[in-house]
């Protein structure tokens, strides 16, 4: 079986969990004899290609001939995402408006014949343009490669997935690692929401990384529940080693590690820290990461007067992340909304007990982590205090947690994904034979 997979990032150059998940999944699929063409906007050449063949979208020309372009525009005229809803317009005026838009679209694409577009592959300000151009390139790739199923990760690649489906007629699987609601709360970006929804509607199957996400897809995007399947993420820890580290401070260390953004609930960590510090001074809190709530968090910590026991490290990567885990006695993930959340698993693998919010997908697969509601800072503080104070709690969560985490293999998750490929192919076959 051959899969054309659209991603946005791939290790070693990653900024979020998506790249890691893609890596794990593709390696798992490779074990199940699934061949993968992995397309990404910009590849550096140092990606691990043991399980996938990477196609760098920056190396592919969008169209080669005029015919290509015309043909494609017929099929993928959805690409322009400006709103067609213009108020106070009669039917004639509306048609005129639409034609005008079409002409504009055509003119815009004409200039890119035979040209390659250098994607930044980041999440910058021209993201929407990159998403669209990625889709154009995707259709070109779909035309020149042979494959059975299309698999697209998250909204950034949804359009690419749809374009590839239109061009090739192959079934499309959309993999939802996070939704706009997870990223922004209720203040969704309409444009992003629209792209996500479009992808979900066009998909033959949607994979959600947790039941939590599955429910969001069903309730907030109004997708037929039968189309949405949960496949929990996994972890492969072949590269993680135990490390001994000497600490500079005698106190116990409680760690928050992640983006300091609304979604991750940093303020609840701070409030809980304040409560714990009122009871005991024999503890230090560390907030590792960066994000748009970074400055606000520092101000809040200062205002509470706990700065002497509360530390910010800024963004950590690679070795520093591992060192941070090795330093920690307790790991806290108070996420407001976390589709899955891989970091508690990394903590548990490093022998650090984890406290996670009940509003995280990972809570569905973990028994041996302490679960609290993200907003319940009392419960969070209590759990931190318990782990610091009652030795049995730590020994037991660490011992059982390790076993539990080691059982979450990508191998198993990949088998479920492969089954989904087989299902959509079978459905497709049934439809064509009828």
């Amino acid at each position: 079986m051959k899969v054309l997979m659209f991603g946005w990032e791939f290790p070693p150059h990653i900024s979020g969990g998506l790249g890691t998940a893609c890596d794990g999944l593709t390696k798992g699929l490779a074990k199940h004899q699934v061949e993968i063409l992995f397309v990404m906007p910009t590849a550096s050449g140092d990606e691990d290609q043991s399980a996938v063949r990477i196609i760098n979208a920056s190396d592919v020309a969008a169209f080669e001939t005029r015919e290509d372009a015309r043909n494609l525009l017929e099929k993928v005229q959805f690409l322009q995402v400006t709103s067609n809803l213009i108020p106070y317009l009669g039917p004639d005026e509306f048609t005129e408006q639409v034609n005008l838009e079409r002409e504009k679209e055509w003119n815009e694409f004409r200039i890119s014949f035979g040209q390659k577009y250098k994607f930044s592959g980041t999440y910058g300000s021209n993201l929407m343009e990159e998403v669209m151009r990625y889709a154009l390139v995707a259709s070109s790739i779909a035309k020149h490669h042979d494959f059975d199923v299309i698999h697209a990760h998250d909204w950034l690649t949804n359009m690419a997935g749809i374009a590839a489906k239109r061009v090739s007629g192959k079934p499309l699987v959309i993999h939802v690692h996070a939704t706009e609601f997870d990223r922004t709360g209720e203040h969704v970006n309409e444009q992003v929401y629209e792209l996500e929804k479009r992808g979900m509607e066009e998909a033959d199957r949607i994979i959600a990384v947790s039941d939590l996400t599955r429910n969001t897809i069903i309730n907030k995007y109004h997708i037929n529940p039968q189309k949405v399947v949960t496949v929990h993420n996994a972890v492969d820890f072949s590269t993680v080693e135990d490390r001994e580290i000497s600490r500079g401070v005698p106190e116990k260390i409680v760690t928050f590690l992640g983006r300091i953004t609304y979604q991750k609930g940093p303020e609840y960590f701070i409030e809980a820290a304040y409560k714990v510090l009122q009871k005991t001074q024999n503890v230090r809190f560390v907030m590792a990461g960066s994000g748009d709530m970074f400055n606000r968090s520092i101000r809040r910590v200062a205002k509470l007067g706990i700065s002497s026991h509360f530390h910010f490290t800024g963004f950590l990567r690679g070795e520093d992340v591992k060192n941070m885990f090795a330093y920690s006695d307790v790991y806290v993930m108070p996420s407001v909304s976390e589709p899955f959340g891989i970091s508690p698993l990394e903590a548990m693998r490093a022998g650090v007990p984890a406290i996670i919010s009940k509003q995280s997908g990972v809570a569905e697969v973990l028994h041996h982590a302490i679960k609290v509601d993200f907003w319940d800072v009392h419960a969070l503080a209590d759990a931190i205090y318990g782990l610091l104070t009652y030795p049995a709690l730590k020994t037991m969560t660490v011992r059982c947690g390790l076993e539990e985490v080691n059982a979450l293999k990508w191998d198993i998750a990949a088998a479920k994904v492969k089954k989904i490929y087989e299902d959509v192919l079978e459905e497709k076959l049934k439809k064509t034979t009828i």
Binding site: K275, Q278, K279, H367, H368, I370, K371, H378, A379, A381, D382, A383, Y385, G386, T389, Y390, P391, A392, L393, T395, M396, T397, R399, C400
Partner: protein, 394 residues
């Protein structure tokens, strides 16, 4: 000689702890979830204790003493009935007054003290015996330990306290090919007779009665009496032991459980070779068939029938050991409030909530369980225990 049937029902409710945060430690010494305790006691009293007691009273009168039952009512349940459902306590007293109801001795707190030391255990039992005498006007002669926990040495302790009969589980791994339907004796001291629960016949009522997927549903009194008679064709004594809350609470009134109970004595006594006795009567009447060797503690819980439901993981062991490390000093403190709290903390239920087998052994553990996870239960318990430790004089 007639074959015997013993019915014994356990009555126990723990004092559930309120959400006790670590900020409360050293500041607030009230630990109980009054609302939950009151609600559950009132509910169980009105669904089970009161209607079932009334029914049993009627049956005793109707059969003129040929129908008998035994109860063990924990000190925790007695206290909470006094506090929240005095009419339920009254109805137990009425039953006691008939002379056909035996009240068994147990540990006052429904505690696991038998696992820690003879002194602690005996103190608990003495206290309960006193409470039974005070409420029901009879001195218990037969003993049942918390959760039917039993071992050779626990039996020996009970014998040393003057009990001649003890009830425990007919655990398959102990009995092997032997039948639970006989009287046995303790392996260390033959003075103590052992009555073993027939778990199949007991669980037919306690767990399976309203289960429509069960092949034998619906269970009629006639069918059930037939099973008992079948079991007693060769054997001598069938012991039906269960939680009293099976009537009306675990098995709701709508399942027909009360009609079943009403019809059961008649159906059993229709078999003229059968009689219903209290545990002490049955133990006096039958000859023990063999000593029973139980080197490691058994209980009536879960598939394992061991003590792992309360003392199986690190959490439970730490909580247990920390609790009992305080006992000596609590006793010497002369602080009645502290001693009362210490008693309530001993209830086995607190340890049951910390059981991690719950992830696989679901339903039974979830019943009345106020916590979402064993870890939550442990943290809460340890916070309270920390406060009790602070209150205890050094």
């Amino acid at each position: 000689m007639k074959k015997s049937i013993c019915l014994y029902f356990q009555v126990h409710q723990p004092y559930r702890l309120r959400q006790y945060r670590f900020f409360d430690i050293g500041k607030n010494h009230y630990y109980y979830d009054d609302f939950a305790n009151k609600t559950i006691m009132s509910r169980v009293a009105s669904r089970c204790y009161i209607p079932a007691n009334r029914l049993i009273l009627d049956l005793i009168k109707e059969f003129d003493g040929a129908f008998k039952v035994a109860f063990s009512v924990s000190g925790m349940a007695l206290e909470q009935m006094e506090q929240y459902a005095p009419e339920a306590l009254e109805s137990f007293k009425e039953l006691a007054a008939t002379g056909h109801v035996e009240f068994l001795a147990e540990t006052y707190s429904h505690s696991l003290s038998s696992l820690i030391s003879p002194v602690k255990f005996k103190n608990q039992v003495k206290m309960h015996t006193k409470a039974v005498e005070q409420h029901f006007g009879q001195k218990p002669k037969a003993f049942r330990n918390t959760e039917l926990i039993y071992s050779d040495t626990i039996g020996e302790m009970a014998a040393e306290m003057g009990f001649t009969t003890m009830l425990t589980e007919g655990a398959r791994h102990i009995l092997g090919w032997k039948s639970p339907n006989y009287l046995y004796v303790n392996a260390l001291t033959p003075k103590l007779k052992l009555m073993l629960r027939n778990f199949r016949l007991s669980d037919d009522i306690a767990f399976r009665f309203s289960d429509k997927k069960w092949g034998d549903w619906p269970l009629t009194a006639e069918k059930y009496a037939g099973w008992i008679a079948g079991a007693l064709e060769k054997d001598e004594l069938v012991n039906i032991f269960m939680d009293y809350e099976s009537f009306g609470e675990h098995q709701p009134a709508s399942s027909g459980i009360f009609e079943f109970l009403r019809a059961m004595p008649g159906m059993i006594l229709n078999h003229t070779n059968l009689e219903i006795l209290t545990p002490s009567q049955a133990a006096a009447k039958h000859q023990p068939i063999a000593p029973l060797h139980v080197p490691y503690a058994i209980s009536w819980a879960d598939e394992e029938r061991d003590i792992s439901a309360w003392y199986g993981n690190e959490l439970q062991q730490e909580a247990f050991n920390d609790l009992y490390a305080l006992e000596e000093r609590v006793k010497l403190s002369n602080d009645p409030d502290l001693q009362r709290d210490f008693r309530r903390m001993q209830a086995s239920d607190h340890f049951y909530y910390m059981c991690t087998k719950l992830f696989s052994d679901g339903d039974v553990h979830k019943y009345f369980n106020p916590y979402d996870s064993p870890y939550e239960a442990f943290i809460n318990y340890m916070n309270v225990l920390s406060d009790i430790t602070l209150r205890t004089p050094k």
